[in-house]
Symmetry: C2
DNA sequence: CGCAGTCATGACAGCGCAGTCACCCGACGA
DNA sequence: TCGTCGGGTGACTGCGCTGTCATGACTGCG
């Protein structure tokens, strides 16, 4: 193989030795400077940097990875979805990785894909990644997530996972779901319906469990669960079904998109939100404050989860022998807007009787922009 | 450097030579088989694949990239945003890249970042990417996008860009904006206000231009433009300002999020949508059909744009000497839902007088799930 | 003054693959 | 019969970097 990259005529890009020659040092010293190693005199360092700059030198990462056995790249297995939650997590991961000096290699696994997560992990390992992030895992991922590099699972119940080099980070979704349900019960609703996410998702199961716990804690009836697919369309479909029942006063939806679809269907069916039916969402998407009525929801600290998780992953990468740390759970927040209110007065319901709450929250604050 | 990756005890992962020995061939032949080269007998091919499988062999991409000068990786420069449009584009790019056998390396440039796009491109080149995708470029990116690898610019006006190895792909945003504006004019609105995106974005400028063209074509007055930042919050703020005016009957918002915020503010100000004011959005986000009222908007074929663009990029990568192809523009669609209607009857407006349109579109179709 | 310890640098090897070229073999035409 | 040609294979080399080790120069201390 001759050294003739670039198109004919244009000189090949300079290598470490070229810089070394230009600076009057050895190639190894160039390497030292570029890696910020100790024991390089300030003078030499200056000359090397100057020469590198002058020649337009760019480090060759393939060579570096081959020689060092580390690629300074983190692989991400994401679901192929533009949903706000996963997208935000990905964003946070990228930022945290870049700050830590790692590049990101992303593979999406459309649900029901060929190899699924295992295949994606394989291809990342082939790519030589130093660590792997699995975002919002679903069921089949749980299996043999064997990997010679550390794995960070985002959005799984913290501390649950198998796999010897696995770290989990996420929020306590169960507690959040309990908080959302309790909010509705506190308002006086006799019980709360649940519009769940797909059962294969850990996130969906956690929220379901939290909802059950909250109802069980007060000895309330647990209405049958409707399952959606996170989309507003599925929320709309569920809303049509729920509106047909006659005991509906409160619904906890497993994410905001479904909540919006749900409200759309309820409104169409002549039910007013929140006067007739209260709805709580989950995620606090940016639109939540601006739909009508502004959505009461649970805010997830996606960015904090991603940062914290990645910090741990990088630690595990750079200290292979150390104990695997455990993620601390991130604080969360119930954002009360206007889609929840006490139930309508009825013979069998509580004594509370309110008019509709005025709008509150961001919808009224002057936007930052 | 001794060959002792993996943790002590565990054997190092097998290399090409190990497979070669196991199959009784040379390392070069293993390489041939794995690269699908010609001139390998079926018997040898079978033996090699079998041995590779048995040993759990995994190709080392760093070595491959170093030896071949190609990394089979495409770098993506994205904006650090969870907005639906950019996120969808990224999704499409990933899928197309994977189908073409390329991995993806993603770098986000938060707006107003240190090096901005140029810095991101540098770090990707360092990474040895074979091609670069710049998604939804903003102003400063336009400059010296010099790169020794081909560059695909997504969301820029097709065919506009400088840079000798640059390909552009996208939709004809101006035409779309014209269509949206014409829709409102056709309904009888005397003129249409525009809620624009940040001026630094090409996408925002195109939409603004299309809006101007549509008004100019009919000799209509061009109301002053309000600029938002794509967020619902900024749309809400704009809505408060617009509601204070008294000639408002129609608004074209540069994206759906802003449209939702806008509607929220108008509603709060006592203006009904669409009876008093019509609103058109842009993007057709999944929620558009489920907000109240369902949003009339312009659907962007993000996936098609990403696929087509990536196809061209891969072509340019694999045929370095060939002419740079031009992207064909993708078909688009105006989705009429319920946020638009003829203007309210007034002395100075047209003869049309409708009641609110019934809901139409997806909001009524049974969801697929 | 001599020796250990630290700082600063270079020589050299080798990471695991793909490129190049040489080679062998059988088929086929002269 | 021999030369030629293309299929099929292997030996060797080098991609550009980092790890290891060797080597000086200089410092401080007994």
């Amino acid at each position: 193989m001759t050294r003739a990259r670039g198109r004919e005529g244009s000189p090949a890009s300079p290598r470490g030795v070229d810089v070394a020659r230009a600076a009057g040092v050895s190639q190894k010293t160039v390497s030292r400077v570029l890696n910020g190693e100790r024991y390089v005199s300030v003078d030499v360092r200056r000359r090397v940097l100057e020469a590198a700059d002058r020649l337009g030198y760019r480090l060759n990462n393939a060579a570096r990875a081959l020689a060092s056995g580390r690629s300074r790249t983190i692989g991400v297995v994401a679901l192929g979805t533009a949903l706000y939650g996963p997208a935000s997590l990905l964003l946070g991961v990228e930022r945290a990785a870049r700050n830590a000096g790692y590049a990101l290699s992303v593979v999406n696994t459309l649900e029901g894909d060929q190899g699924g997560v295992a295949g994606a992990v394989q291809s990342l390992l082939e790519r030589g990644v130093d660590g792997i992030v699995v975002s919002e895992p679903i069921d089949e991922d749980a299996g043999p997530l064997t990997s010679e590099v550390p794995v960070l699972v985002l959005g799984a119940p913290a501390g649950t996972r198998t796999g010897e080099r696995t770290i989990a980070a996420g929020v306590d979704s169960e507690a959040l779901a309990r908080a959302a349900t309790d909010h509705l019960l506190d308002l006086g609703h006799p019980t709360v319906h649940h519009l769940a996410g797909p059962e294969r998702w850990f996130a969906a199961r956690d929220r379901l469990a939290g909802w059950r716990q909250a109802l069980a804690a007060r000895g309330r009836e647990q209405p049958s669960v409707t399952e959606g697919d996170w989309s507003a369309a599925s929320g709309y479909a569920a809303g049509r079904r729920l509106a047909a029942g006659n005991d509906l006063t409160a619904v906890f939806a497993a994410n905001d998109d479904m909540a919006v679809g749900l409200i759309s269907a309820l409104t169409e069916a002549g039910l007013r939100v929140p006067q007739d039916v209260s709805v709580v969402g989950f995620d606090d998407i940016p639109l939540a404050a601006y739909v009508r009525p502004p959505l009461t929801t649970v805010r997830q600290p996606f960015d904090a989860v991603a940062c914290e998780g990645l910090r741990l992953l990088v630690h595990a990468i750079e200290n292979p022998e150390a104990e695997l740390p455990t993620a601390q759970e991130q604080p969360v927040e119930l954002v009360v807007r206007s889609s929840t209110a006490p139930p309508p007065a009825r013979a069998d319901s509580g004594p509370l009787r309110h008019t509709v709450q005025p709008l509150t929250g961001e919808a009224h604050a002057p936007p930052a922009a």
